[in-house]
Subunit: 199 residues, 2 copies
């Protein structure tokens, strides 16, 4: 019931290309990096490169964290604090989408050196935001539709920050991410209410 040979090869090639892209980006700089260089490094033709990724950027950023919307029915009806539930939801998402710390660090290096990639990274992360908005809609009801999107983006940004911190800190485990997100969200909530008597 494991993957077929074809599927395993495809996945492996996709990873090889990503590694090659990151390697070349760190070596030559992102702006100087050509698809030809990536293909050569990965041992494939440039044509094959485009069979796997639509462009260079996509090759460097991997797959986005995908939330298991189906398995998150509990979220809509939970009575817990929203910040905690959001954090739990995303913490679960991370466990379902294992990240390689070493690869992530390299990716972060490339992003740090190329601000233009930051946008693409956020865009990638915001794919998560979409499924989250659906879940929030279910929990908060239609009255809050306009705030739902803001909240979803806020939560995914918090997730991104937390993942970055985790990637850089060997002492952290994946389990430490959930409370970190929770704390971040709660702090933002507190700050937002600062000086506001209308709570």
């Amino acid at each position: 019931m494991g993957m077929s040979l074809r599927q395993r090869r495809r996945l492996q090639t996709a990873r090889d290309i990503q590694m090659a892209a990151v390697t070349v980006a760190l070596r030559d700089g992102f702006d100087q990096m050509t698809t030809e260089a990536i293909a050569t490094e990965a041992g494939i033709s440039t044509r094959t490169f485009f069979n796997y990724y639509n462009n260079k950027q996509a090759a460097i950023l991997g797959e986005a964290v995908r939330l298991d919307v189906a398995g998150a029915g509990w979220f809509a009806s939970s009575e817990g604090a929203l910040t905690d539930d959001l954090a739990r939801l995303m913490g679960q998402g991370l466990k379902d989408n294992p990240l390689d710390r070493a690869v992530l660090r390299k990716i972060i290096s490339v992003i740090d050196a190329n601000p233009a990639l930051q946008d693409l990274f956020r865009t990638k992360v915001d794919e998560t935001s979409l499924s989250l908005a659906t879940l929030l809609d279910a929990r908060l009801g239609p009255d809050m539709a306009s705030e739902t999107r803001l909240l979803a983006e806020l939560a995914t940004h918090a997730l991104t920050e937390a993942v970055m911190i985790w990637a850089m800190d060997d002492a952290m485990t994946l389990d430490d991410i959930t409370p970190l997100i929770s704390a971040k969200l709660r702090n933002v909530g507190k700050i937002l209410m600062q000086g506001d008597a209308r709570v």
Copy 2:
């Protein structure tokens, strides 16, 4: 003290190109749109097009709203509700960067038809976020550094949503945007605190 002839022409050409880009995008579809078509529509050479914009996307999205960081000293030391002050700050930014409702509507049409542009639009908006983060740092102090960025992004997203609503609703004035942003932020704050006893 007015702009020189050169400056006025440059600005006008930049606007002409943007109009041309939007027109062509609506006519041919963004994916089918070529730089050559834009240049022809704008009455310039393709080479000149690239003297004004780095790429097609940039030609469609105009300049980002720029906050007047220098003139916002009041923000750091204000005692008012943070949500209100943020809204006021961004409302002021809008007045300093007058938007053309008709053009904005066309841009929104193009974006709606091309999800890929949504990311770029947000990226554009997030340029505002950077200056905002600086101001928030000054107000909240170094302890809150990690939440500052989240807050800045949240606020700029709220700004974007409010501007979209304004663009679509002729009955709204620019002055209506400030309280709208304020309300959105306050609601997000409330929702974040939902079920949280630790306030």
